[in-house]
Subunit: 153 residues, 2 copies
């Protein structure tokens, strides 16, 4: 059943699926989009502050999206337009990542048919260390039958 | 010639390469990582606030990285760890994107061999409209021969 703006409760948590940082895919992403030493060159990465290859931030974000697939397949999501996030711990090949989303707040939008939701999102690795810590603002569709009055929470 | 932390001037601008939002790649990204209606289903997108298919934010970020390849191939970049960004205008198939980076500030890091740089980044489409507007904090390596005194700016 689709979760509309009206259905989202402040404090509710949603749990994403586990995704693996596959080494081949991680390197392919870096070759195409972010071909710098720390993402591609084992020797250069060894002498960097990270000590070994780390994933491109763009690939970490891709895995974050992938982990969230089961969540956003349920929510009447219309996009995220304001993001603030940090990468506290780097991602390395074979890390197992999963996302946890918490609903922090919601308010009416100036436009009909949608509401604004603020969320905290954490992506954890297999050691429960945060590889992404984020505050994201979404738009979520209101229930199709809702009157304008019902959407103003 | 590699640009180290000491070489970055506040106010300097760097210009990325043009990248196209290829429709096939855009849909493939959405299928694998963000399979929701506004990114994949022409009919659902037509009835959304966007009026037609738009790219996943993860794919827009991927193109942003790709546009920046010529910039980060020159800078002794060690990663971006704090991001704040917005997507003011959606990206659609065949949009032509390019990134412009401005150095806003720099300071010494508590750790040797690196400095902290704050930057504004804009990704513009073919109509010069901002599809990403971002404030990003980087780590950049100091020049290998630099003494600790030289790195503290």
């Amino acid at each position: 059943m689709t979760i509309y703006f009206e259905d989202l409760k402040i404090g509710a948590e949603f749990f994403g699926q586990e995704c693996i940082a596959d080494k081949e895919e991680m390197l392919d992403y870096a070759i195409k989009n972010d071909p710098i030493g720390i993402h591609l060159d084992e020797e250069a990465a060894k002498h960097s502050p990270f000590g070994s290859l780390i994933a491109s931030g763009g690939y970490v974000i891709t895995l974050w999206y992938r982990s969230c697939i089961p969540i956003f397949s349920r929510i009447a999501f219309l996009g995220a337009f304001d993001w603030h996030f940090k990468f506290p711990v780097p991602v390395r090949a074979n890390d197992k990542l999963r996302c946890i989303i918490r609903i922090d707040g919601k308010r009416a939008s100036g436009k009909p048919g949608r509401g604004i939701v603020t969320s905290s999102q954490r992506v954890l690795n297999q050691d429960d260390r945060e590889v992404i810590s984020a505050e994201i603002v979404w738009m979520v569709a209101t229930r199709p039958s809702a009157s304008p009055l019902e959407t103003a929470c």
